[in-house]
């Protein structure tokens, strides 16, 4: 890959599995992510696609056991995080890379004030006095649109949208290079979602950071992201700039996702993807999507398809593109 200096995150061929009593769950199966500085990557896919496991791997928070990283590497700002000792990783986590979770009610500590939870991060990573930390806490709260005077209140005294703002403040307080947001607005109402997305977009520019936005909403991807990776069965099946992937959709699964969502003011009947997500314990051979794919042919069952590039960045992993005049039906 050219010019790795420009990448804040470089994930190569990552493989993660969970060894459970029922069998081995193949959660992430050879994923590559090259994230340029100051850009936002959308990670889209349905339940069980491996999005969250991928994010937890970058934080080195995959629960182990049962989780095992069986292959690949992750370079965070050029540093191989798998070679770090736990103590070293603790220094990076929260400082260079931070994560916000879907449900702020369960990720905030209910018995600590929000101020304590924000200053905890500062004092863990920076050598500052209590007073300085307190001033920073106030500043952060104001930045995310909460009155700084509320720092001594507890999470339950805040609404869901406000709690998510607190999470964002915790994530950003040490000015991370990379922020991973795992479905940050899924639990929120639409008007509150709009406020939070607006806030995140503004802060991303202000803090000069890169962001991975995990979401199942293609609408959020279109509004917030520069690039998008579509995940299915632990693999990235299509990647490219948001414009390329949305305007020139190449993978049958991506097309299926688009056809599944109701479009405002279009009385078109939905065309759902038939069938269900594959069982990650027994993934289909070859292309993971073939059992649900209307374009599948015999060859699809044989080998894992390699990325086929349509320009410098845009690729889809589908062997049908070896046929020169293969095209999707379109939307």
């Amino acid at each position: 890959m050219k010019n790795n200096k420009n990448l804040v995150l470089d994930v190569s061929n990552l493989e993660v599995e969970y060894r459970t009593q029922e069998g081995v769950v193949h959660a992430v199966n050879g994923v590559d992510i090259k994230l340029p500085r100051k850009s936002t990557l959308g990670l889209v896919g349905e339940t069980g696609a491996g999005k969250t496991t991928l994010a937890l791997s970058i934080m080195r928070l995959v629960p182990s056991p049962p989780g095992v990283i069986t292959g690949g590497s992750i370079l965070l700002d050029g540093q191989d995080i798998f070679s770090l000792k736990d103590k070293q990783m603790e220094k990076i986590r929260g400082k260079d890379v931070a994560m916000i979770f879907q449900d702020p009610m369960t990720s905030l500590n209910p018995i600590l004030t929000v101020g304590e939870q924000i200053s905890e991060v500062i004092r863990l990573h920076e050598n500052v006095s209590q007073k300085q930390a307190e001033a920073r806490v106030k500043e952060m709260l104001e930045l995310v649109g909460i009155d700084g005077e509320r720092m001594n209140e507890y999470p339950h005294q805040f609404s869901g949208g406000m709690q998510q703002r607190v999470m964002i403040a915790i994530g950003l307080v040490c000015n991370p290079k990379l922020l991973i947001a795992d479905e940050p607005t899924t639990a929120l109402d639409v008007t509150i979602q709009a406020q939070v997305l607006d806030l995140m977009r503004g802060l991303k520019d202000e803090f000069d950071m890169s962001m991975i936005m995990i979401t199942h909403s293609l609408g959020i991807v279109a509004e917030v992201c520069d690039y998008v990776s579509v995940m299915y069965g632990g693999r990235i099946v299509e990647y490219g700039s948001v414009r390329d992937v949305f305007k020139n959709t190449k993978h049958p699964y991506t097309e299926g996702l688009f056809n599944s969502i109701p479009i405002i003011n279009a009385a078109k009947r939905l065309e759902p993807i038939p069938g269900l997500m594959p069982d990650p314990i027994e993934l289909p051979t070859g292309c993971v999507f073939w059992p649900r794919c209307s374009y599948a042919i015999e060859e699809c069952k044989k080998d894992v398809p390699q990325p086929k590039y349509f320009n410098d960045t845009h690729y889809a992993s589908c062997i049908r593109y070896e046929e020169p005049d293969f095209k999707l039906k379109g939307r």
């Binding site: 349905e46 949208g161 609408g219 056809n259 003011n265 759902p272 997500m277």
Partner: protein
């Protein structure tokens, strides 16, 4: 003229709390014609689910009429209400918590049939259940499975089968696809659409998802803090939203299209308390266009053009 199946008149539900009366549903009226779908949209706490529960009389209203097929069901005694529930069914949001985990698929679908003693003959009952499973897209070999063995989409299909078992006229669908992945969501929405045509069903479709409601509904009513602020045919509402809240709600939907660069109307703050609300427009504190007149008294819902109802003091 189409036949009116359900008519809600001045329906109210107040809950007593320590801090005063909570106005969950506050004087709403609407009607649904047979075979049509009314979408009831709004955000958390607007009273949409309470409205659904009131229509089934799973909770008792504080005041108002619920007229179903010409009869006010609030006047029904327990026995009459029980009979009426054959015709009014509900599908809940979360198929994980709304069906009994200790019953198998066949037992779950049997439940409503046995409750009303529909079949005396077991073979006939089984035949009907299998037919129902075919109809909602549940494979027959799942008949002895338990809910925890099934994914969310299949569980919701059980919910649909249970609601359909007694051949109801009206189904209250309370966020039926919100807990599901998009590809599964589309499967269930298509199923509900097909069943409506086949069985001449009438839906009250409660959701926070405007894209879904736009796709699915004939008319849409927008609720805010216990009130209907605007109601219109679906296409009209999306083309010509008149209430500031509707406008903000529509503009907040993320559109999956890179070429649409819309001006987003952000509304400030959060929903205010439904406890003892002051006599003013309930949206006034968050409204970008608030004027003195909005604070003087609560606006009434009135028809501003044929079929388009609005509760807005300024227009």
């Amino acid at each position: 003229m189409a036949e009116e199946l359900l008519r809600i008149e001045n329906l109210k539900k107040y809950f007593k709390t320590k801090r005063g009366l909570l106005h969950a549903v506050d004087n709403i009226s609407f009607s649904i014609e047979k075979g049509k779908t009314l979408g009831l949209v709004g955000e958390s706490g607007c009273g949409k689910s309470t409205t659904g529960l009131l229509i089934l009389r799973l909770i008792e209203p504080t005041d108002g009429k619920i007229i179903f097929n010409g009869n006010d069901i609030n006047k029904f005694n327990n026995k009459e209400m029980r009979e009426a529930r054959r015709d009014i069914q509900i599908i809940f949001q979360d198929p994980f918590s709304s069906i009994n985990p200790r019953k198998s698929v066949i037992e779950l679908i049997q439940e409503p049939l046995r409750w009303f003693k529909v079949y005396k003959d077991k073979t006939e009952e089984n035949k009907y259940i299998y037919g129902l499973m075919d109809k909602v897209g549940l494979a027959r070999n799942l008949v002895n499975r338990y809910p925890h063995e099934l994914d969310g989409g299949r569980r919701q299909r059980i919910g649909v089968a249970r609601a359909l078992a007694l051949k109801p006229e009206l189904i209250v669908c309370d966020e039926p696809v919100s807990a599901l992945d998009v590809s599964i969501q589309a499967q269930i929405l298509n199923l509900l659409e097909d069943l409506q045509g086949e069985m001449d069903l009438t839906y009250l479709f409660i959701t926070h998802d405007l894209a879904v409601v736009n796709h699915f509904s004939d008319d849409i009513a927008v609720m805010y803090l216990g009130k209907i602020v605007e109601k219109a045919p679906a296409t009209e509402l999306f083309k010509n939203p008149l209430h500031p809240y509707t406008e903000a709600l529509l503009s907040a939907i993320p559109i999956p299209d890179v070429d649409i660069n819309k001006e987003r109307i952000l509304i400030k703050g959060e929903i205010s308390s439904p406890i003892e609300p002051p006599n003013e427009c309930r949206f006034a504190n968050r409204c970008n266009y608030v004027q003195d007149i909005c604070r003087q008294q609560e606006p009434e819902l009135r028809e501003v053009s044929p079929g388009h109802f609005l509760s807005y003091a300024v227009k």
